[in-house]
Symmetry: C2
Subunit: 274 residues, 2 copies
């Protein structure tokens, strides 16, 4: 797993990262599917423990190009978690009050509280991606945001949040195929927007923006994982394993009940008896 | 005014700052009162401009020991502003959802949007004051917060917020007198709480915490002003002048209406005509 974690100081060149890579798993795709299912069940148990202990906060950030698989990851990897303790937040075009404040204002509001697992399906990183590629604010403004974001995530981490960030790396050819699928399959038509093709024309600009982001904002306290994502099974395999491993390392415990519970048991048993 | 601004790198020793000081005004107290009134009116006009232009955001932070005069400053200095564009936020003991998040979570939510002037009557600085003095979290947690706070304020400033921070410096003897007033005057009894005397016993710890705060969090983008506050008139004089001067330096303009308004005027004039 460590192979896919971007270390501070790394100089990532995305053209050297093969989106078809699945070299760190030696089994078959079917073997992997069964391992994913086990990991999802384990994640369900870890999330229950997280909610019961109410000590840690967990933030998972998903970023990718259109069709990159963010929705697929949410559906699959979190399939065995309890919606009561898990919330998926999608950030759309800012509303008027959101646009009146700094770009982290709406994001901070959605961060997890104790015992919560929050998934950002897109995030504040769009403020150095789409905002940069489309020049929505001048460079002297967006270029300062890498430092803001690192500091923001440092505060969250220092105050008890585990932060895991995943960039789902697909190829331009794979995106073409997935967009064609959306056009051909009536059940997928709704996911297609004409704007997707406009964004696709800016592919190289987005790759440059992603490279900068990976090189500037992968920290010890909030690392990026660069996930090869042309193969959905390999993507889900890596992400589910990484999240489980990181949650397990929190060494969570169910709260100890210090009272003697036998009195309560006796009271209930008496009620049914006679 | 510059005399009272704490510069980055300064080493403040509060025992060297006389709370009775009023040396930077040569007129009488009556002259000062009339200057304060003019400054309040000017602040009202500047705030109207701020709201009309909807470009800048303004955050005023007030910190002081109990009876230090925060409420008095709000009442006097903002007496001529429009409540529609000015909001005073008091941070009390955190609610359960607030306590489940990092300490800046609730604070960030209350920061000003474009055109707004927000006054924090107490603030995130309590998280390195009362929290530190009472050991509400361990030192390895609160000691990291100075950096968090500087980074948080840097983000706000980079994204268009003018931040002005005032520490109202009173003496322990002056606090004693003001607490006695609260006990003696039935109209002021409600402001007294038994806990105030407990806090007063920790005066020296608070002074140490304030010194650290002034030395670590006064920045070019969010400076602290150390206001001698035993004399209410001098306190209000300094604060009203400083806020006016800082707002004036934003060089705000009423939005230009580019349309030709004569058509509308003609339409309305026709209506009233015979």
């Amino acid at each position: 797993m460590d192979h896919y974690r971007v270390k501070p100081g790394d100089k990532i060149d995305l053209s050297e990262w093969n989106p078809d890579d699945h070299s760190h798993y030696s089994g078959s795709k079917e073997d992997a599917e069964s391992e994913i299912q086990s990991a999802c069940v384990q994640l369900g148990l870890l999330q229950q423990l997280l909610a019961a202990e109410r000590k840690h906060k967990v933030l998972v950030i998903l970023q990718a190009m259109d069709t990159g698989g963010k929705d697929g990851v949410v559906r699959r990897v979190f399939s065995e978690t309890n919606p009561q303790g898990v919330r998926v937040v999608s950030f759309k075009v800012p509303t008027a009050p959101e646009a009146d404040h700094d770009y982290l204002w709406r994001v901070h509001q959605q961060t997890p509280g104790k015992g919560e697992l929050i998934v950002f399906n897109r995030s504040h990183y769009e403020d150095v991606l789409v905002v940069r590629v489309h020049n929505l604010v001048p460079k002297n403004i967006w270029s300062k945001r890498y430092d803001h974001i690192n500091a923001f995530e440092k505060t969250l981490a220092d105050e008890g949040t585990l932060i895991l960030k995943f960039y789902l790396h697909i190829s331009k050819a794979e995106q073409r195929q997935r967009l064609l699928d959306r056009l051909e399959d009536p059940a997928k038509n709704w996911k297609f927007a004409a704007g997707d093709l406009k964004e696709r024309e800016l592919w190289n600009d987005y790759m440059a923006a992603y490279e900068d982001l990976l090189n500037k904002t992968s920290t010890t306290y909030a690392p990026w994982y660069l996930i090869p994502a042309n193969h959905k099974w390999y993507r889900d395999f890596l992400i589910s394993k990484i999240i489980c491993s990181e949650l397990a390392s929190l060494d969570m415990k169910y709260p100890q009940i210090v009272e003697d519970l036998s009195t309560y048991r006796a009271q209930l048993e008496k009620e049914s008896g006679a």
